[in-house]
Amino acid sequence: MTVILQTQKLRVEFRSHEFRQTPKIALQGLDLEVRAGEVFGFLGPNGAGKTTTMNVLLGFVPPTSGTASLFGIDVRQPIARQRIGYLPELTYYYKFLTAEELLRFYAKIFGLPRAEADQRIARLLKLVELEHAAKRPIKSYSKGMQQRVGLAQALINNPDLLILDEPTSGLDPLGRMKVREIIQRLKSEGKTVFFSSHELGEVETVCDRVAIIHQGVLKAVGRVHEITGQHANLEKAFLDIIGFQSQVQATT
C-alpha cells in the first residue's frame, strides 16, 4: 500500500529563551508511516508530542533533524498541503461569517471554480448536518456545530489525507457520535485519516492502526488488536505501554 505520511528519525527541540535552560525535546527520532486508506490513531498523554508531530507535518514547526513528508513531498513545501485537510483542536472560526461563506473562503484558496465550490459546499453542509444553519453567522453556533463546520472546512478540497487533532474534544456524547460517524463515512470513501485522541474507546472502534507516543518517543505501533494483546482493552494496554501501571505498582 502507498505510504502517504512518513516521518523518519524526526527530532524537534524547543530552545528556551531563558539563560542556561536546556532545550526541551519534544520528539526524539520518531518514525511513522501511514498508508493510503487507513484510519490511523495517534495516542499519547498530554505533552507526549502529538500536536508537535502534527505541527511538523503541517509545516508550522521546522524539524530540528530528520524528515517528514506528505505524499512524498517535504512538508516544508506549501504544495505538500494541497491534498490534505486539517481540523485543529478547539478553533473559533470567523464569527462574522456564515458556514457557507467560511467554506467559500477556503474553496477560493484551493482555487475551486464557483460551480464546483457551490456543489461541494452543499454536499459538505449535508454531510455535517448543518444545512439548516448554513446562512446563520458562526457566532450563533454551539460548540458541536463549530466542530462540525471545522470538519467541513477540512474536507473542502476533497483531501486524500485528513489530519484531525482531537476532533471530539469537548463535545457531548451526541456530538462525538456524529463526528465518529463522519470519520467512518470518510473511511468507507477510501480517505486516509490521521487523528489524535484521548478517547480510547473511540480509537478502538474507528482505527485500523494506532501509534502510542510518550515523552516524544514512539512506544508502540500496530493494529489495535496487536497493541491490545493480552490486555482487556486499549485503555489498559495504553496505560501499560506508557508505564503508568508499573508506576502505580512501584508506589503501592
Binding site: L58, G59, F60, P78, Y86, T91, Y94, L97, E101
Partner: protein, 258 residues
C-alpha cells in the same frame, strides 16, 4: 494572487459587519449636521470652518478605523486559532500578510469613499460647487497615507503582544509624525552632537504622513497640486508600505504559529 484576495475579502466582510465604521460615520455626520445648522456671527465664510471640522473628523475616524482594524487582524487569528487551518492550506505567510494588508487598505478605501461623499454633499450645500479634482487628490493622498498606517500597524501586531498596546503605540507614533515630524530638522539645528545626527536621521527615516494631508487644498479651494508631485508622493507611500510589509513578513516567518 487568489489567496491574497481571498484573505482580503474576509477582512472587508469583517469591517462592514462590525459596528466600528457605522458608529464613527454616524458621529461624524451628527456633529457636522449640528455644526451646519448653526450660523456663527453671520460669517459668510463659515462654510470653511464647517469643512475644516468635517475633514478633521474624517481624518480622526479613518485613522481609528485603519489602526484598530489592522492591529487586531493577526492577533485575532492566533487567539481564535483560525491561523492553524488557514496556514495548513496552501497559503504562505507572506500571502497572509499581503492579504490582510490589502483587505484593511481596501476596507479603509471604502470607508473613505463614504466619508468623502458625505463631505462633498455637505460642502456643496453651502458652497454650491463640486471641486471633484480637489476631492480626488485629497482622497487618494489620504488613502495612501492610510496604507502606510495599515502596514505599520500590521508590523506592530507581530511585534507587540496585545492589539491594544500596538494600537496605542501606533497612535502615539502617528500623532508624533503628524504634529512634529515636519519640524524635526529645525529642532535638530539647535541640538548638540550626537543628538543632532540622531534627530536628523529620524527626520529622514520616518514616513512623513503630513505630506499626504491636503485638507487645506479642499478647505480653501486652492488650485490643484501638479499631478507629478502627487505621483511622487504616492510612490513615496508605496515604498514605505513595502518596507513595513517586508518587515512584517520577516518577523512573521520566525513566529511560532501557536
Amino acid at each position: 494572487m487568489k489567496n491574497i484576495f481571498a484573505v482580503a475579502g474576509v477582512v472587508i466582510k469583517e469591517l462592514y459587519r462590525r459596528k466600528d465604521f457605522y458608529v464613527l460615520f454616524i458621529i461624524t455626520v451628527l456633529i457636522c449636521l449640528v455644526m451646519a445648522s448653526v450660523n456663527v456671527f453671520n460669517d459668510s465664510k463659515v462654510a470653511r470652518y464647517l469643512k475644516e471640522i468635517c475633514l478633521l473628523l474624517v481624518w480622526v475616524s479613518s485613522l481609528v478605523i485603519a489602526v484598530t482594524t489592522a492591529a487586531r487582524q493577526i492577533p485575532a487569528e492566533r487567539e481564535n486559532r483560525t491561523l492553524l487551518p488557514l496556514l495548513a492550506k496552501p497559503v504562505t505567510r507572506m500571502q497572509l500578510i499581503f492579504g490582510k494588508f490589502f483587505g484593511c487598505w481596501f476596507a479603509c478605501g471604502l470607508t473613505l469613499l463614504c466619508f468623502y461623499i458625505f463631505f462633498g454633499a455637505l460642502s456643496a450645500t453651502r458652497e454650491h460647487q463640486w471641486p471633484l479634482a480637489n476631492y480626488f487628490q485629497a482622497a487618494v493622498m489620504h488613502w495612501f497615507m492610510l496604507g502606510i498606517v495599515v502596514a505599520m500597524a500590521l508590523l506592530g501586531s507581530l511585534v507587540f503582544a496585545a492589539p491594544s498596546s500596538n494600537s496605542t503605540i501606533c497612535f502615539v507614533i502617528i500623532g508624533g509624525i503628524l504634529f512634529v515630524g515636519r519640524h524635526l530638522d529645525q529642532v535638530a539645528v539647535s541640538m548638540r552632537e550626537p543628538l543632532r545626527t540622531i534627530v536628523n536621521a529620524l527626520y529622514f527615516t520616518v514616513p512623513h504622513l503630513e505630506f499626504f494631508d491636503l485638507r487645506d487644498l479642499v478647505i480653501h479651494n486652492w488650485p490643484l497640486i501638479g499631478w507629478k508631485y502627487i505621483v511622487l508622493a504616492l510612490l513615496y507611500a508605496t515604498a514605505y508600505i513595502l518596507i513595513f510589509l517586508i518587515g512584517a513578513c520577516l518577523v512573521f516567518r520566525r513566529k511560532p504559529v501557536n
